[in-house]
């Protein structure tokens, strides 16, 4: 295990990039997801159709292929990304579809009576959305969103395929230099597990804060 301890800085650097990628992709993905979910309720049929198509295509194709499309395929059309940029873009687009579905599920779970009450009080649509619908949706979906974030942290490991120096890649580079395969891979696995456990606990804590009084 000495090799691991001697190179903690390397692992830390990789982990930092992993978390940065996951955070960016999650924030971006949330925005995309929200817009997509709202688009599904738009009056214009082509807008709705576009949103549905986007979600279905992303959810039925592998993330690695999506990454290849962004990093290797788009340059054919003149759009070039760095490996890191491509990873974040691909993961953002990927996330957006899943977040859209999570939001859609949350919206459907709101009892119709809430909308009736808001309407009966004369609340305009926008106010009802902001004050009644979205806060309740958020409280319903935050566990699923937390899980989605953790999945994104794990998914960021595909960055190794295009050379992004996130956690998996730095570990593999170290392994190819030192040949301490078992120690490094075990450490890599345990680091991911520790991170996901900690993140899960943190998000549960935040979730309770949000749920206070409500449940």
């Amino acid at each position: 295990m000495a090799v691991v301890l001697d190179n903690l800085g390397v692992f830390a650097g990789g982990l930092a990039l992993t978390l940065l990628v996951a955070l960016s992709a999650s924030l971006g993905g949330s925005v995309v997801g929200l817009l997509t979910a709202l688009s599904r309720m738009a009056p214009a049929a082509p807008v709705r159709w576009l949103a549905v198509t986007y979600v279905e295509v992303i959810r039925n194709t592998p993330g690695l292929v999506q990454l290849f499309l962004v990093y290797l395929g788009l340059p054919n059309l003149g759009i070039r990304f760095s490996p890191l940029g491509a990873l974040i873009v691909a993961l953002t687009v990927n996330n957006g579809a899943y977040v859209a579905e999570i939001i859609r599920g949350g919206l459907q779970a709101i009892p119709k009576g809430q909308l009736d009450a808001a309407a009966a009080l004369g609340l305009p649509r926008r106010v009802a959305l902001a004050e009644v619908v979205l806060p309740q949706t958020l409280r319903a979906i935050h566990p699923a969103l937390a899980n989605q974030f953790i999945q994104t942290v794990l998914a960021s490991s595909i960055g190794t395929v295009v050379g992004v120096e996130e956690l998996t890649q730095v570990a593999l580079i170290l392994e190819s230099r030192t040949y301490q395969t078992v120690e490094i891979l075990v450490a890599l696995t345990l680091i991911y597990v520790a991170v996901t456990v900690l993140l899960a606990a943190l998000m549960r804590r935040l979730g309770h804060r949000l749920d206070r009084g409500y449940r």
Partner: protein
């Protein structure tokens, strides 16, 4: 003929709600069948009838939660659903209380009460909060101001819901089976609030199965069946001597449980 009726502005003696030949379809199903009804200001109406008779649907047509297929509903001179009249204006005059309360669970009682007055009527926060506290006093729950709905009993939640509707200072209050979801021992506290409201002169349309309440409070009882208005009259007569066969059939079934109101029996 009232000169104001010609110009369209409602006069105080005009009915506050006019239901004119309202028919409604849900797909192929006719849920309201040419209903004609007028409600005077300050009148207390109770709608009864078997499930599926359309009474809740009729109520929901009054504040535009349901659209009519044929005919029209006029509230305080405004035609509900008329393109020229925003529904928000109608809904500001009409308060509604639901069977399942529909309080906003993520907001405190105070926030539930102040939301619409601030956002729709434009009241300042201090004004809205003052109004809210006053109304909570009125329904007997002043101490629950900072509580979340989940911590209140069903009866308390419904009373808060009544206060929330009253906060908009409506001219009419609609009650859609307000006590049907409550445990029996909690029904009384809600009916007491409703009785007080009636005493204070509020125009009320109530869909309910609470016959004692209807007899005490209603000016008129309307019996509906399969979307049609079958019979109407003062509660004392309706409960003891229903004239139409369908009303008689429904009331016999319903009141068979309560000795006080068996048709044919002298009123207590």
């Amino acid at each position: 003929m009232n000169p104001d009726a010609v110009s369209g502005a409602p006069a105080p003696s005009d009915p506050i709600v006019l239901i004119q030949g309202v028919t409604k379809f849900f797909g192929p199903l006719k849920v309201l069948d040419d209903v004609v009804l007028s409600v005077a200001r300050g009148e207390r109406l109770v709608l009864i009838g078997p499930s599926g008779s359309g009474k809740s649907t009729l109520l929901r047509c009054v504040n535009g939660l349901e659209e009519v297929s044929l005919g029209r509903v006029v509230v305080d001179g405004m035609v509900v659903g008329d393109p020229g009249t925003p529904l928000a204006k109608v809904r500001a005059e009409v308060g509604m209380v639901f069977q399942h309360f529909n309080l906003f669970p993520h907001k405190t009682v105070l926030a539930n009460l102040t939301l619409a007055p601030m956002r729709v009527l434009g009241l300042a926060r201090s004004e809205a909060e003052g109004l809210a506290r006053e109304l909570l006093e009125r329904v007997g729950l002043p101490e629950k101001v900072g509580e979340y709905p989940a911590r209140l009993s069903g009866g308390q939640q419904q009373r808060v819901a009544i206060a929330r509707a009253l906060a908009m200072r409506p001219k009419i209050m609609l009650f859609d089976e307000p006590t049907s979801s409550l445990d029996p021992e909690l029904v009384g506290e809600v009916l007491d609030v409703m009785r007080q409201l009636a005493e204070d002169g509020m125009t009320m349309l109530v869909v309910t199965h609470e016959m004692a309440f209807a007899e005490d409070v209603a000016d008129r009882v309307i019996v509906m069946d399969r979307g049609a208005l079958v019979e109407e009259g003062p509660p004392q007569r309706i409960f003891t001597d229903p004239r139409t066969p369908r009303a008689r059939a429904f009331l016999t079934r319903l009141l068979a449980r309560s000795e006080r109101h068996r048709p044919g029996r002298e009123p207590a």
